[in-house]
C-alpha cells in the first residue's frame, strides 16, 4: 500500500512542476521564445511574495494576489522593452538575452536578499493533511495540484474563448498576416509575457511555501519545467501537466527506493519518454 501513497505524492508533486512549466509553455507557444530566465523569474516572484508577506504581514495567498499584477507589469515592460527586440528569424538572440537576464536576476536577488535560504510561512496549513483510506496527503500539495489544474483550465479558456486568446493564437500562427488584420504583435507578445508572469507568481507561491529557496534555485526549476513541457509535447498544456506528473512520480518512486535517486529518477524518466516518443506524448503542432 505504501506504493499507492508514493504514487499519489508523486502525482501531486507533478502539479508543482506543471505550474513551473505552464508559463514557459505559454511563452514558447505564442512567440517561439525559449525563456532561459523562467526559473529565475519564479524565484524573483517568490522573493516578491516574501517581501509582501513580511512587510505587510499578509497571508501568502493574499500576498500572491498583490504580487501578480506587479509581475504582470514587469513582464509587459520586459517583453516590450527588451525581448521583442530579440525576436526574429534567428533563435540565438532570445537565448542569449534571457540567459543574461537569468544571471542579472540571480545577482540582483543575491545583492538584495543575500544567499541565505528563505521560506514563506503558511502557518498551520504547512502541516495540515487529509486522509483517504491508506493514503494521507498534505493539504498544501493538494492545493498545488488543484491550482495547476485551475491554471490550465483558465489558460485554455483564455486561448479558446476570448478575443485576446484568439489574437494570441493568430499571432503565433503568422505574425505578419495578423498585423494586417489590425493586430499589434508587439502588444500581443507583451500581454502574453505578462500573463505568463502571473502564472509564474502562482508557481512561486507554492515553490516558496513548500521548500526553502535562495537566489540560485531558479535554473533547476527551469530544467523541470523544460522536461515537463517536452514530455507533454510542445504546445499542449494538458500534456505539460502529464509531463509534470511523470517527473513527479518518477522522483517520488526513485526516492522511495533510494533517497539519492530522487532527482536522477526524474531525469531518467524524461530520457525514456524522449526515446519512445521523441515529439512528446501529446504533440499538437506539426512544425
Amino acid at each position: 500500500m505504501i506504493w499507492i501513497d508514493t504514487i499519489v505524492q508523486g502525482v501531486l508533486l507533478g502539479g508543482l512542476y506543471a505550474l513551473f512549466a505552464a508559463g514557459l509553455s505559454l511563452v514558447f507557444g505564442i512567440m517561439r521564445l525559449v525563456n532561459l530566465a523562467h526559473g529565475d523569474l519564479i524565484v524573483m516572484a517568490a522573493y516578491l511574495i516574501l517581501v509582501v508577506v513580511s512587510v505587510l504581514g499578509l497571508n501568502p495567498f493574499v500576498a500572491a494576489v498583490i504580487a501578480a499584477p506587479i509581475m504582470f507589469v514587469f513582464g509587459w515592460i520586459l517583453q516590450k522593452g527588451v525581448l521583442n527586440r530579440t525576436l526574429g528569424e534567428d533563435i540565438l538572440p532570445p537565448l542569449l538575452v534571457t540567459f543574461g537576464l537569468s544571471v542579472v536576476i540571480q545577482n540582483a536577488l543575491l545583492e538584495g536578499f543575500s544567499a541565505d535560504s528563505q521560506r514563506i510561512s503558511m502557518g498551520p496549513l504547512e502541516t495540515a493533511s487529509v486522509s483517504a483510506g491508506p493514503v494521507t496527503v498534505g493539504l498544501l500539495p493538494l492545493l498545488t495540484f488543484a491550482s495547476a489544474i485551475l491554471v490550465i483550465v483558465g489558460l485554455n479558456w483564455i486561448f479558446y474563448r476570448t478575443s485576446i486568446g484568439r489574437a494570441y493564437r493568430a499571432t503565433s500562427d503568422d505574425p505578419v498576416t495578423a498585423s494586417l488584420m489590425g493586430i499589434r504583435p508587439d502588444r500581443v507578445f507583451a500581454s502574453a509575457m505578462g500573463l505568463a508572469l502571473i502564472v509564474v507568481t502562482i508557481a512561486a507561491l507554492y515553490l516558496g511555501t513548500r521548500s526553502n529557496f535562495d537566489p540560485y534555485v531558479g535554473p533547476a526549476r527551469l530544467i523541470y519545467a523544460f522536461e515537463a513541457v517536452i514530455i507533454g509535447g510542445l504546445g499542449s498544456l494538458w500534456g505539460t501537466l502529464a509531463g509534470g506528473v511523470i517527473i513527479g512520480v518518477a522522483q517520488t518512486v526513485g526516492a522511495s527506493i533510494n533517497p539519492e535517486w530522487q532527482i536522477l529518477a526524474g531525469h531518467v524518466a524524461f530520457l525514456v519518454v524522449l526515446l519512445i516518443r521523441p515529439r512528446g506524448l501529446f504533440p499538437r503542432a506539426v512544425d
Binding site: R166, A167, A170, D173, T177, A178, L180
Partner: protein, 240 residues
C-alpha cells in the same frame, strides 16, 4: 461620385529594377477595377504600395480624400482597406469562424460580441457556414480562397483588394466564386482585382488596367482594352 483612391506618379524601385513607374489613376467609389499584366509586371507590388506594406520612392497615394502615402498598413486596414492574398494565408490553428472573428474584431477595433452577426453573414455569403467550426488548416483550395475573401470582407472594407483569387480553381469553382464577388460588388464595395483568369475578371469589372514593367500601358473599358494592339502584343504575346 468622388474617387475613393487616387495614385499620383507612384514609383518604386528594387535596386535598378523599376517595379512601379509613375503609376497614376483614380478609382471612383463603387467601381470594380481589374488589373492585368504579365508575371513580374508589378501587380502585387502595386497592391503592397496601396496597402502600405511597401513605401513608394516617389509619388502620392490618396485614400478617401486623405494623403495616406506614409500611413502604416494597420491604419489603412482600420480605415476600410481589405486585402486577400495570392497564396491563401489563413491562421491554420484557428477555426474558419475564429479566423473571421479575429479579422472582424481587430480589423475594426470592435468587441467580439458586436461582430458575431456580421461574421455569420460573411460565412453565409461566402458559403463557408458548413465548415465554420473546422480548423482552417484542413480546408480545400476553393474553401481556402473563399476564406481569404471572407476574411477580407469581415473587416467590412470600403475598398477590397483581391490578388489572384481565382487562380488554381476549376471552371465550376471559379464561376461560384465570381458570383460571390459580383454580389459583393453590387452591394457597393469598391474592388481592385488582380487576375490572370481573364473571363473571371471581365465578368465583374467595369474598368481594366494593364501593367507592364511597372508602367500603366492602358486603362479603360475592358472590351476596348482587350482589343488594343499594345495589350495584345505585350500581354497576350500576339504579333499584330
Amino acid at each position: 461620385m468622388g474617387a475613393i483612391l487616387s495614385l499620383h506618379d507612384v514609383s518604386k524601385s528594387f535596386g535598378a529594377l523599376k517595379v512601379a513607374d509613375a503609376i497614376s489613376f483614380d478609382l471612383p467609389e463603387g467601381q470594380a477595377l481589374g488589373i492585368i499584366g504579365p508575371n513580374g509586371a508589378g501587380k502585387s507590388t502595386l497592391f503592397n504600395l496601396i496597402t502600405g506594406n511597401l513605401a513608394p520612392d516617389a509619388g502620392r497615394i490618396e485614400y478617401l480624400g486623405r494623403d495616406v502615402t506614409r500611413v502604416p498598413p494597420m491604419q489603412r486596414c482600420l480605415a476600410g482597406m481589405g486585402r486577400s492574398f495570392q497564396i491563401p494565408q489563413p491562421f491554420t490553428g484557428l477555426t474558419v469562424f475564429e479566423n473571421l472573428l479575429v479579422a472582424a474584431t481587430h480589423g475594426q477595433d470592435r468587441r467580439e460580441s458586436d461582430v458575431v452577426d456580421q461574421v455569420a453573414q460573411v460565412l453565409e455569403r461566402t458559403e463557408l457556414m458548413s465548415v465554420a467550426n473546422k480548423p482552417a488548416g484542413g480546408l480545400s483550395l476553393l474553401q481556402r480562397k473563399r476564406l481569404e475573401l471572407a476574411r477580407a470582407m469581415a473587416t467590412q472594407p470600403k475598398l477590397l483588394l483581391l490578388d489572384e483569387i481565382a487562380g488554381g480553381l476549376t471552371d465550376a469553382e471559379c464561376t461560384a466564386l465570381i458570383e460571390t464577388i459580383r454580389a459583393l460588388h453590387s452591394d457597393g464595395v469598391t474592388i481592385i482585382w488582380i487576375e490572370h483568369v481573364l473571363h473571371a475578371l471581365t465578368a465583374v469589372v467595369e474598368r481594366l488596367l494593364v501593367l507592364d514593367f511597372g508602367r500603366v500601358i492602358g486603362i479603360g473599358d475592358p472590351s476596348e482594352i482587350m482589343e488594343s494592339r499594345e495589350v495584345k502584343e505585350i500581354y497576350l504575346g500576339i504579333e499584330v
